[in-house]
Symmetry: none
Subunit: 233 residues, 2 copies
């Protein structure tokens, strides 16, 4: 889920932004002033910031400066009113990644958000997990076992990723069906078992004694948290 932090003092504007962004499927977090924005941004949970430059109190520009000064590289889309183009100039030199002048169209904003996210995706490190001698590269959709590629079918990989995403928690077959198969359609729940079996065969050191994908009787499956490391290179 892509998370967008909106730093905006006007309630109306914040409401509008939230509405539109959420409609597009983003998760939206709103901060009403600079300091709050700074705090939220430093939590590091947002993938993109939309920053209104006409903030009261701590100026938006200061927020920008502060963030960048601390080495925070979150992509920032700056909003500014038309006549304050001077602000824009400064924003540019400071490290805003893009900006939009008010009044702006929804489509334009969304397009820029999308473009910015796309651009920043390249900068993000690859998502890689390690479990024992197995390495799962989410970005490349590859799995290595002792450096050797393991051939996983799409369904298998998706299932594995879903289990990993819920690491430490029991996931019911129904949940897995919903997440991996997409629909609560007519897939018999036993299908999950089959794929889990196949995954174990390919990944577990000893398929009859699984250490990664554990069975929770009468409940579902669980990926053992203790076996999993997230690599952030």
């Amino acid at each position: 889920m892509t998370r967008i932090l909106v730093v905006e003092d006007s309630e109306d504007m914040a409401f509008g932004l939230r509405n539109n962004l959420e409609f597009e499927g983003y998760e939206v977090d709103v901060a009403a002033d600079g300091p709050a924005g700074l705090t939220r941004a430093e939590e590091g949970r947002a993938d993109l910031m939309i920053l209104d430059l006409t903030l009261p109190g701590m100026d938006g520009l200061d927020l920008l400066k502060a963030l960048r000064a601390r080495g925070n590289a979150i992509p920032i889309l700056v909003l500014t009113a038309r006549q304050e183009e001077i602000d824009k100039v400064e924003g540019l030199k400071l490290g805003a990644d893009d900006y939009v002048t008010k009044p702006f169209g929804v489509m334009e904003l969304l397009a820029r958000v999308e473009a910015l996210l796309r651009r920043s995706e390249q900068m993000q490190p690859m998502k890689v997990f390690r479990m024992g001698d197995i390495e799962v590269n989410v970005s490349a959709r590859t799995v290595l076992r002792q450096g050797q590629p393991v051939e996983l079918a799409p369904r298998e990989l998706d299932l594995l990723l879903s289990l990993i995403a819920h690491q430490g928690r029991v996931v019911t077959r129904e949940e897995l069906l919903r997440e991996v198969w997409g629909h609560a359609g007519r897939v018999v729940t036993r299908t999950v078992d089959t794929h889990v079996s196949e995954l174990r065969r390919k990944l577990e050191p000893d398929a009859t004694n699984p250490i990664f994908i554990l069975t929770a009787r009468k409940a579902g499956y669980r990926f053992d948290m203790d076996q999993l490391t997230e690599l952030v290179p």
Copy 2:
């Protein structure tokens, strides 16, 4: 004296640009169409080009490609009315150094010009990749195999560059379409497959067992990171 070449067909726009830029102390040269722009650019007297992508006749994109193909590294600021064109230029790493969407404010334009000039002071080296015995010169848009030129159609080269730009990550057919085809025409996604096939035929040692452009079933394609070296000459 810093010299700016403006490639712009609309007289009004050209006049406005010249006015403002000259007021800022730049020397301005205007070309009214693509071919004229290409000629002027090749004279090598300009420090920066402002290029309107909505040119008649020779498309602005073609001018861009043609310039870069000839190894011309002049910094280019692209003007465009359409977001999709930005996507295209950006996705391809075609060599626009920055862009502004119309309508834009004067201050914004000037800021970008300034930023671009500053950035280009420290000349960026030519981007060249090596994959096995293949050498891909991104800036020159040429491909050599054991020193011999490989003839790639524009689409093919664009596709290759896009894949290389995402090296190590799976890229969906939709993403490739957006970046290479520009999202404009509603091209069928299977078309990507055809071009990948052609690329493999021309580049892979064994097209039936690709080592560069790998298939990620149900997901897209991926350029194998391990096969790619970036040369910094």
